[in-house]
Symmetry: C2
Subunit: 520 residues, 2 copies
């Protein structure tokens, strides 16, 4: 209300007569950015203070739009997923690095095309202009160029930030995890590329998310295909992004978009339509190498030969059961230069989950409803950062970890099994009053022996409330102290699940607890 009035007053002051004057005023004002920003900040602060004046706790108790807290249960699931994934990365000999959450603004400039508008900028508080990282790939490329690293196999799991607008309605978050594995270095063709697919195969198998398929294609095959089908050079990208919709739209609709919206000839569209319906393995690559049209493109042939080579390595890696060469796979990102891939969950049961699960999935992974991993080769990105443009060939994969979290959360929700948020093995409890000292002594003994143990922070807790806590927290054992037990030099050990109880000598307690909780 106040705002509206002032805007009106301002409009009156300036008048409608001098549109040009306003514009030139703005250009001049552009120079005094800092002053204006300071004024603006003061006004906004004042406004905030005024707003907060009529009550002591006037502020809204919430997290920022598009962000969320992780509660202990979510954290337990997150940790489990992380552990499985990191174990796989380590099995393949990957190192890990970390980069700051913000970068110089110019480091991110010109890397994301249209999506640059989704970058969070920091306020200019004097000093450098900074932005929150938008993904982990650009910081990785910056890191390699800055440190002149030409060979590395690294993973990086961290949060990235995107001011995405449809956000909450589609379950997308503005702060979300990315989980990247990349191999940088000049190596023999397709060996690191094949290992990336092996890793995706291992991770998705171990996480037990249901059946999946890994689609593979090559940027050079796509470009070659567009060329031989008569797509004009300057329409490659836009036609490519239409092809990218094939996993959500019927071919008829994709074709319509190509012809009506993008002005492609019907013939060209039909030819593309024939190719993008093709799926297969090494045999398809061989067939296309003989294809009269396709074989005219040198680029396509290079891509097809590499697909053949890739499949030969995938056979050795024993993962061809899940991998399919699919000419309709396009993937959005501009920086891919060779092989591209995407893993999708194919189980019927996943469909409803996946919609819910889209939250926070990186933009390049939102292509398919069930998409849970994606990546490819990008040989040019690091060169964009090197002062001399020196290239470091890279291939990598991003695991759609937010989607995987959601699926795991839903599975946990649906399962009868309780998600434990602690790993406590035993609760030290007492059956009578005035045993706090004895409880603290015993729990110290357990802690010092490396056993995960808890004690209630009450002088005289009721036995029932101590047992209840164990039921709720899933603690499997209770070590109960009472006058008689102390006299006898024993502890009453209770198995929470069976309610079975038995006395055990203090000297045997550690061993017994370890034996009974050594499952994992």
């Amino acid at each position: 209300m106040l705002g509206t009035l002032c805007v009106r007053a301002f409009a009156g002051l300036v008048g409608l007569r001098t549109a040009t004057r306003v514009q030139s005023l703005h250009s001049f004002l552009g120079i005094t950015v800092t002053q204006i920003d300071e004024e603006v900040a003061k006004l906004l602060e004042l406004k905030a203070q005024l707003g907060g004046d009529d009550g002591k706790h006037q502020f809204v108790l919430k997290t920022a739009k598009g962000t969320r807290d992780y509660n202990p249960k979510q954290m337990a699931i997150r940790e489990k997923v992380f552990n499985t994934i990191i174990r796989c990365f380590k099995r393949h000999g990957a190192e890990t690095i970390d980069t700051p959450v913000f970068e110089l603004k110019e480091t991110l400039t010109g890397k994301y095309g249209e999506d640059s508008k989704l970058i969070y900028d920091l306020k200019d508080q004097g000093g450098e202009l900074l932005s929150l990282r938008y993904d982990l790939t650009v910081p990785f490329a910056r890191y390699l160029a800055m440190n002149k690293i030409t060979n590395i196999k690294r993973y990086h799991i961290a949060k990235v930030y995107r001011r995405d607008n449809p956000a909450m309605t589609r379950g997308r978050y503005r702060e979300f995890y990315q989980c990247d594995f990349d191999i940088a270095g000049q190596y023999d063709a397709m060996i690191p590329d094949a290992e990336c697919l092996k890793i995706v195969h291992e991770i998705l198998s171990e996480l037990d998310l249901g059946d999946f398929r890994i689609k593979v294609n090559d940027r050079r095959i796509l470009d070659g295909m567009f060329a031989v089908c008569g797509v004009p050079d300057d329409k490659f990208r836009t036609i490519c992004s239409t092809v990218d919709k094939l996993d959500k739209m019927a071919w008829e609709d994709v074709k319509k978009e190509m012809v009506n919206e993008k002005g492609l000839s019907e013939e060209a569209a039909d030819q593309i339509g024939e190719y993008v319906s093709m799926q297969g393995g090494m045999d398809l690559a061989e067939r296309l190498l003989q294809d009269q049209k396709m074989s005219q493109s040198k680029q396509a042939c290079a891509g097809l030969s590499d697909i053949k080579l890739l499949f030969s390595y995938l056979q050795l890696f024993q993962v061809t059961d899940k991998v399919v060469f699919d000419l309709s796979l396009a993937r959005g990102l501009d920086y891919y230069t060779g092989v591209i891939y995407e893993a999708v969950l194919t189980q019927a049961g996943v469909a409803p989950v996946a919609t819910e699960a889209q939250r926070g999935a990186p933009a390049e992974e939102s292509v398919s409803v069930g998409s849970v991993a994606g990546g490819g080769r990008y040989d040019g990105l690091v060169g964009m950062f090197d002062p001399k443009g020196r290239k470091v060939p890279c291939v990598g994969v991003s695991i759609g970890i937010e989607r995987i979290f959601s699926i795991m959360e839903q599975k946990a929700e649906a399962s009868a099994e309780k998600v434990r948020t602690t790993e406590v093995q035993v609760m030290v409890a007492s059956a009578q009053k005035n045993l706090l000292e004895e409880r603290l002594k015993l729990v110290t003994e357990l802690w010092n022996a490396g056993i995960k143990a808890e004690v209630m922070y009450k002088k005289n807790p009721k036995l029932l409330s101590q047992l209840q806590h164990c039921e709720e927290a899933g603690i499997p054992l209770v070590a109960i102290l009472g006058e008689q037990e102390l006299k006898d030099g024993v502890v009453k050990l209770r198995v929470v699940s069976t309610r079975e109880e038995f006395d055990i000598h203090r000297a045997d307690l550690l061993g017994e607890i370890r034996r009974r909780t050594s499952e994992a």
Copy 2:
């Protein structure tokens, strides 16, 4: 240059005559924030483009001021430290949560006093005003109030952000980790407080950083002491912050500051001086409870009784060897309401390390050169967020993890032992050409069996370069394939450290690798 000219032109345009007009113009402009911001953004982008015009890679290859990348070696050390600390938190039954990296600006407003100027704000790109978190305690309090949680024992390890200016010269970072453990809930006095100290004791012992001491005091004892020494109420805080300097300054200088700068009477200062020189254990608390002056303060007596109780629990926890009741411990933060503590490394060898190690240490932990943990009871903070002001008593500790990283890094630097950045157990190598297929087959076998293995991404790598890689990366075993070995159904296993080699049947390989690398 262009900027200067324009500012001058703008000044000319507006003229010096209308200072008020400029001001009122600004207030009106405050309303059209979005428009101005858009204009400003356009201009800045233009400027950036112009700046980057005379060279293709004009930008600076660096991380933002006060931030750093972690390389694989640093990450390996970081992971080791995290694991030790997290293992301890879990042993004590803690859950973990995570909160977003940014909060609504108003959530942080009024929580940090003067230090608020160090908060990073995000640019107003339309929508909410956001700030990067300054610590993990305020987001924790917000989380508790928002979710109406009255009981939780949680840890949170995450990065926080401070626009600290002395920054790099003193080795301080603007992005750094905090590592907090807190117990929230209404419990019997001093039991959770004692557990926090037990945890500090366990962590510092396990990390093996050298000898340490944990100083303990109580906000109520400090306040009571100031009262009975004749410090005026309104000078408690400022005198307290002078006392806080006692670990870096001699008493004479502290006294001077109290008398000359803060206007305290010499008598009052001398009386404070007597108290703050006192150190002891439970006995000191008992003595002070009998102290004619001190016993006049109800507050001090409450604090002293709690210190006595605390020490009785610390005895049961077997940690009194390191804990000292020290009346000079003050700690800066306003929100402490009861017991406070701080752990310092006392070994002579640590002194030079510690200076280097100050990087990134949270402000409240920079008090003492060797300070590596600190915390206390804050019963009022959550109430600041609750709409009805409901209090949730809290006690917690923050581990000075950045300082610990630095010490560990220095120790690693000084030690002859190499820091491994991967956990690879075995390298699959070949002695002759054309064995890529066989190498890939074997490494697949190993991966599928859960063994951490690597293979070079070359068709025909030299044996020497494969062995060299093992030396550099600290890989303990090499599984070497050759024509003869394949014929014989064996693998030549090489122990890198001893250069010992022997043939082993393929069927026995997995077991042999496991046996030889099962140390940890």
